[in-house]
Symmetry: C2
Subunit: 239 residues, 2 copies
């Protein structure tokens, strides 16, 4: 292969780097630093988001980069209200465990990044969306995941906050009513990427075994595991 | 930094590899080979999917690896029916353009991989889903994007087929009614990763400029572009 590698070929070293970033990515809440993110780094992250797949090449994603402190304090109040309401569904030990978790870093991070989907755009001419219209919003989720992995590759942490009322956030950020709020991210450099997900370390939820998630040909039929043990770059470090 | 780099630090070379894979990933329909995918490679892809973020660490994703030829011929028939119906909404030139596109590779690939979400699992104890329950399905989409990027890093192509009726596919694959079909992927080695998305090359849809997607602090307010031009690894090669 060595003498005859096409221009698009990804090398073993590059592949190992990609797996390392996939397996060491974390949902960060507790280890953020306030260090600013340089503009060129931010634009690289935004470029990675824009390079995500989209159904019919519709590229329905709009991204708001939020620095403004007053706006973020306003959103923090919305988060606190939603989080108090969320805590109320838990009882006794579960409630204490929930209240001990840190679930957002809206003010501690240097910026927040909000992903919105325009499901009404004529871009893509509707291709692929007649049977599964939800793929418009899924395209924006793919952009979020590209952003998240690019951030990990820049040694930047991301925490996704979903304990927010979408309509309230849309109102604060002046997002038109016909757009869909997909993701609210807190973004910043970190003091650590922990080896395990924080929700696992803190006992909120354990990791599933990989084989349990995989089915062969029809649902419920197990896929036999590989003959050789997985290599370090392929091990299943969930988060 | 050199003497004092933490274990989790991603190097410049690793970062460049991640951006290369993000920017050269494509939705593949036309360049698949029938070469089998070794089991250990397949399990690395599945491990990458399982390492995706999930709301409340619920890990709601179930993955069906589909080799069976008769099942795939059955699904191909469903695709052809859905695709004929989809073509009928277009008229004149648009219809000819639509019909000239290749939109699936269900039978030409060595395997198909189907992603399903169990939004009803008690895993994660509902954390993060009271205000945005759609984040359960979004977690499965993040798993799809991890799989897709890992595949690109293995020089394996992926094509996402959404021109399928989810209920029909669930019935064929014996997926329980309470689970949600998220993604149907055709997966295989390729003869080429084209430099541009096929839908762009074939004139179906053009690429958006990155700056047009990005807003500062509130929707509709532009973020000034970076002082320095983006580097090659950050350029905006959409797909």
């Amino acid at each position: 292969m060595a003498d005859n590698v096409p221009a698009w070929w990804v090398s073993d070293a590059e592949r190992t780097a990609v797996y390392r970033v996939i397996h060491t990515r974390r949902d960060i809440r507790s280890t953020f630093l306030s260090t600013p993110i340089p503009d060129d780094v931010l634009w690289r992250l935004l470029g990675a988001a824009a390079a995500a797949p989209s159904v019919g090449f519709m590229q329905p994603t709009e991204i708001i980069v939020l620095y403004d402190a007053a706006t973020r304090r306003h959103i923090q109040q919305h988060f606190e209200t939603a989080n108090r309401a969320a805590a109320e569904v838990y009882t006794s030990d579960d409630r204490a465990a929930y209240e001990a978790l840190k679930l957002a870093a809206i003010l501690e991070t240097p910026l927040n990044v909000i992903f919105v989907c325009d499901t009404t755009t004529v871009r893509g001419r509707g291709l692929g969306r007649q049977t599964m219209p939800e793929t418009a919003v899924f395209s924006t989720v793919c952009a979020v995941q590209n952003f998240w992995l690019a951030a990990r590759a820049e040694n930047i942490g991301v925490g996704w906050v979903s304990i927010l009322e979408p309509d309230a956030i849309k109102s604060v950020l002046k997002i038109p009513a016909h757009l869909t709020l997909v993701a609210y991210l807190c973004v910043g450099y970190v003091s650590d990427f922990p080896p395990q997900p924080e929700l696992e370390t803190k006992g909120w939820e354990g990791a599933r075994a990989l084989a349990e998630m995989v089915h062969l040909d029809t649902y419920g039929r197990p896929l036999p595991p590989p003959a050789h043990p997985l290599t370090p770059t392929s091990h299943n470090a969930y988060s």
